[in-house]
Each structure stands twice: as C-alpha cells, then as structure tokens.
Amino acid sequence: MLFNSFPFLVLVLVTLILYYSKKLVKYQIYILILSSLVFYAYGQPYLLLLLFISASINAIVSYKVYFENIREKKRLYSVSGVVFNLVVLSFFKYSPLFGVMIEDFNSLGGVGEFLLTIPLPIGISFYTFQGISLVVDLYKSDHQSECPLFEVNKNFKKHYLDTIFFISFFPQLVAGPIVKAYQFYPQIKTKYLKDIDFERAFKILILGYFLKMVIADNLKDQTFWMTYPYFESLSSLTLITLLFGYSIQIFADFAGYSLIAIGIAKLYGYELPKNFNFPYISKSFSEFWTRWHISLSSWLKEYLYIPLGGNRVSKIRVYINISIVMLLGGLWHGAAYSYIVWGGYHGFLLVTERYMASYVKFPSNILMNAVKVFFVFSLITLGWLLFKLPEFDQVLLYLHSLASNSGAHRKEILMMIFFYAIPIFIYYLNYLISITKNKNYLDNSFIYAILFFLIITNSGSSGEFIYFQF
C-alpha cells in the first residue's frame, strides 16, 4: 500500500478514529497492530506469515535474553536471535543473487533456478534490523542493569504484544526510519488526543508529500532518460544534468517518505527518529553519513562499527572496519553487485578522507566550505549512478557517454530539472539561514498552503518509493 494512495488515506483515517475513540482506548495497540497487518497484507498477503513469525521469534528470544540470569545462556539466546534475523534476511534478500551466481556456474542443476524464485518481502531489511536491535539492546541492558535502556514487562503476553507492535508499526514498517528498540518501547502507552501536536504532524506530512509527489515524482519522469539505451544519444550536459536531477530525486523521494512516516506516527502519538538532516550541505563524507539515512548509519555504527572496535583500534583496523561497514551497508540495499560497489565506493571515500585528514588541514572559511560542499555533493551524486543503473556495464557506458557525447542538448529536460531543483535549493538555503538567524522563514501557514496546493495540482505520476525495493 503506497503512502500516496487513497486506500492508505482511508486506512489512516479509520485507524485514527478508532484509535482515539474513548470506548476503544484500552485497545489502542491492538488497533495499530491490526492496521499494520492490513497495510502489509495489502501488497503481499502471503508474506504476512513471515513478518509474524519473525516478530514472534524476536519476542520470545528478547524475553529470554532480558530475564536470563546465566551469562552463557543469555549470550546463546542473543546470538541465536541475531543469527535468526540475519538468516531470514540473507535467505529472502540474497537468494536471487546466489541463484544468478549458481546459474552462471551451472553447477547445481535446479538449485539456482529455485533461488531465483524466492520472493523479496517488502521491508525485510528494515524489520530484521529492528529485530536485531531489540535482541542486542536487551543483551546490553537486562533486568539487572542499574540504568536499563528500557524495561521489559514481566508479563510475556504484554511483551509479545509490544514486540509485534514494534516490528509491524505501519508508518515505519516497509522503509523505515529504522527504529531502535530503546527508542520505541518506552513510548508504548495509552495516548490521548489532547497530547498530540496535530499542527506539527500536519506540517511534516505536507512537507513529506510535497517532496515525494511534487519533486521526486516529477523528476522521475525526467530521469527516466538515464536508463539504457536512451542515455546513449544524449549530450554530456544533458547527462550531467540528469545525474544532478537524480541526486535531487532520490533525496526528495526518501526524505519525503521518512517525513510522511514520521508525520503519520506522530498522529498516533509516536516519535520516530529523524532520518535526514540536509545531507547535501555536508562538507565531508563522514558528515554526509551523519545527515543521510541517519537511522541506518547510526544503526550500522552502534551495532556493527563499534562492536568491530570502532575508533579504539589501530589506524589500519579502523580503515578495515569502515570498509567492512560500508560494504555491508551497500549490500543491505540490495542483492546486486552494483550496491556492493556503491558501498565500496563510499568506504573508499571515507577511508581516503580519514587518511588525508591526518596530513592535510584545509582552512575553514566560506569559500573553502563552499568548495568542500560542492566536492562532496559531486562525488556523492556520481555514486547514485550505481543506484539508478542496475547493470555495472551500463554505469561504465553512461560515464563513457558523459565524457564523449556531443549530441544536441535536451532543453526541456534541463529546464524541468532546474525548475524542480529550485524548491530544494530554497529548502536548503532556508535551513542555512535559520542556523545563523535562528528563524525558520518557511514555517508559516501561507507557505504550507502553497505546498498543499501544489501537492493537489502539480504532482507527478505516482511512483513507488525508491527505498521500497530495499
């Protein structure tokens, strides 16, 4: 069920009415779980079972981890929980990739063919990561901890219900933001209408839908021409502009989606973590990863990079850890070589930056900062090519065309990308001004009314969210 569809609007409204209905207030969690299951089953009903099994096993294992007193047993439970989530993720997400490899070698008869038929459950990368977060958080902080991250209810039924709710909560179920257990569980309680900041939620929703439906969906119809073989006949300027347009599109698409998820969750009284913080103003690659898909990068940092040793090991080990994290981060996005290359590319940029930082110190002034932002943005944008073009050969061909094509410019493409980049430019500029002047000039009713007007009258043809495929 897409966030920008009528069935979704109906689901949100019906859920909202039942949720805040006085007579049903003690069933709030049941109502949200039911809505979440309807939301998930709408697209892939048969895969609901997998979601349910995954959430149930995470509930059982996390309960055992939290209340087990024997250290070894606790460790065994938590390792089993993490392994279970990783096996589910690997089997459903990466089987087709293994299938292709086996088919290539033609060594195992029908096995490769079978693996290619395994369906990809929507949101599996997100809910398995949340399951891991639950098990690990409770391993780190159990019922004996002096300052527990959060407390688990002794009543297993209650914990089971909370966990099903945590894993399946529909605003964040299929594309995040990835919520960590310690961020979510403490919020589970009865909610009252009078406590909800509807104005804030409404504004976040307008901004999210504007980014997705007006900016991303309209740019999608321009960046279509980046696909093979169409790009071969376009001029270098057009190809660079398209790449720039795709960079704006992927930001608007995912940041828009995240804002919608945050806004919807807010309507039910839940706070989801911020997922984007104006990533394209980053002055370094490491800063970029504190601003882009924050819930994933912070998850990888907390549950992978730090356990690997983080910064507390030798320089070489740090470089290796960064590369491992980025390669796995790339692989998390999808079962294709291009995602691994994308992860490796970012790993390389981060390691190079870290290495350079110990030898070269750049001055910090406006001009230098602008150069840094431009440099980081350009290389990040170049990397998105690996997202847009699924075949690595096509990426190389695109780069070759970009360097050598001299055909006529597609003026209409250049112009439309320019038009749709303007709101994003203003959005970023306003943020930069708001930092120095401490005033948000865009936060007024007239601006939000215009955005609302444009959502209704100037939306692009509806497209799936890019991050749904992950």
Binding site: E232, E412, A449, F452, I456, N458, S461
Partner: protein, 286 residues
C-alpha cells in the same frame, strides 16, 4: 469522541488559504481557458491527450496506436479527427480509453506496426480512477494538463520547443539513426512472440465497436524499408489479415519518408505523411 479540538486551530489557517487558492485557480482555468502549449514529459502528454479526449473532444474519427502513429500530431489533423496514440503506448490502451469513456466513434484507425503491446494499466487506472475521473470533468486543476508549472512554461516563449518552421528543417542525426537501427534490426529479425492473449483482447475490442456501428480500418506507419520487409513485420501483417476481415489502408511507400531511428518519422515526414493519411482515409471511406 470530539475531534474538533483546540490543537487544530493552526491547521485551519493552512486549509482555508489552500481552499481559497484552489477555488481561485479553478475559476481562472474555467474563465480564462489558458492555452497550454507545453507539457513536462511524454507521460504527461499521454495523460493530457487522453483527458482532452475523455472530457472535451469527441471527434468522429479516432486513430489509435503506438509512438509511431503518435507522430501524426493532432495539430496536423482536422477537428473531426483525433489521434489517441501514445509514446510508449499501445493500440489496446487507446481502444480501452474510447470504450471506458462510453463514446462510439464513426471510424477507428488502428496502427498495425506495434499491435501486440500490452495495454498500459497504470495510465488506465489513473485516467479512470473511481469517482476522481468524474470529478476531473468539473475541476480542471486536477487534470495533468493544467498543472501550474505547465502554465508557466507555456508562457515562456521559446523556453523549449521549436516553431513549426524550425521543426520542418530538422534532419536526421545519422549517429543516433545508426545506433538505433542496429537494435531495431535485431528486434525485427525475431519472430512474433506470445501474442495470443493480446490478439484475443484486440478481437473483443474490435467486435465491441463494430457491433455498435464503428468502422475499423488497419494501417501502417512508414518505417525504414529494411524493417518493413523484416520477418516480424510480415508476420504481424499476416496475423492481422488472417484474423480480421476489416479494411486496410494502402501500405505506405516507406522510401518516401525519413525516420529518426528506423521506426519514428522525423517531423517533416510526419507532417507529409499526415496529409497522405487523410487522403487514404477518404479513399477507404468512399
């Protein structure tokens, strides 16, 4: 439960301003009827052509086809003709739109170059989304054509797009032609594949219109001569001739026209062929 509570106050302001803007814009569109000459992309063009047909234009002669027939632009045709061919679209999509709109034309001209391409369900679902498609009849701002940005770019003279005379002067880019012809030749050298379901759909739609008195005529757009003689083109022609006893327009003299990529006419040829097409329709209908 009382939903009308204190913390909705600031939302009201946004909604009221929105409603005022929305009403004002629709009144402007209805009263002023602005001329939209530019659209943002080919998909929007498709929506726009289709919505113009559904809500406004009810020409007696309708052309349906793919991007090849879409080269016959509506501006080349008299008012009693309407081209419902789409870039990336298909004959089945065009026929389905006419059927769902409830209109019965006098003549339908079916392009036979790419006849077994599946219908575009996404386009059909958007065009005929329950209730919304009927609301769009009375609220023009909800139609793709009247997006505010289309009005702006239509006002910017020469921002993009060329005049008719400029377009007539454009010749073929041989690099693009050579690149594309390699792919087209490969594609046209293959046999037709899995067309049974589409053929059945086409038969049903043709029957639906014939029963109601519409005359169906098949035609082919000029393409590169080598492709016109290819295995696939011949096979396709044969399948249609065997399965339909309808009229055919005389096949075009492919040598007289130039394509950009082997299958799509350059502007000048499209303009010239449109004239020829009209002459041929008159001959068929005599």
């Amino acid at each position: 439960m009382n939903l009308s509570i204190f913390n909705f106050n600031k939302i009201y302001r946004i909604v009221i301003i929105f409603v005022v803007l929305f009403i004002f814009y629709n009144v402007y569109l209805i009263v002023q009827k602005p001329n939209v000459t530019m659209l943002q992309n080919q998909w929007q063009n498709n929506y726009s052509f289709a919505q113009d047909f559904i809500y406004d234009n009810k020409a007696k002669n309708i052309i349906v086809g793919s991007s090849m027939a879409a080269r016959i632009q509506n501006k080349f045709l008299p008012k009693n003709y309407y081209n419902l061919s789409f870039s990336g679209g298909s004959v089945l999509t065009g026929l389905e739109i006419i059927k769902r709109s409830g209109f019965i034309p006098k003549n339908i001209y079916i392009e036979n170059n790419i006849i077994f391409r599946h219908e575009d369900n996404k386009l059909l679902n958007i065009l005929f989304y329950p209730f919304l498609w009927e609301i769009k009849k009375y609220v023009p701002s909800l139609r793709e054509k009247y997006q505010p940005l289309n009005l702006i770019i239509s006002k910017i003279k020469g921002a993009y797009g060329k005049t008719h005379d400029e377009l007539l002067k454009i010749s073929r880019d041989n690099n693009i032609y050579d690149l594309s012809m390699k792919r087209q030749q490969k594609n046209y050298d293959k046999n037709l594949k899995q067309y049974d379901i589409k053929l059945k759909q086409l038969k049903n739609l043709v029957k639906y219109f014939e029963v109601q008195g519409t005359k169906i005529t098949f035609f082919e757009m000029p393409i590169d001569i080598n492709l016109a003689k290819s295995i696939k083109a011949k096979e396709q022609r044969n399948v249609i001739k065997v399965n339909f006893k309808n009229n055919w327009m005389r096949l075009p003299d492919n040598d007289e026209y130039t394509t950009t990529d082997g299958i799509h006419l350059i502007y000048k040829s499209a303009y010239e062929y449109s004239d020829e097409f009209l002459k041929l329709t008159r001959r068929v209908n005599e």
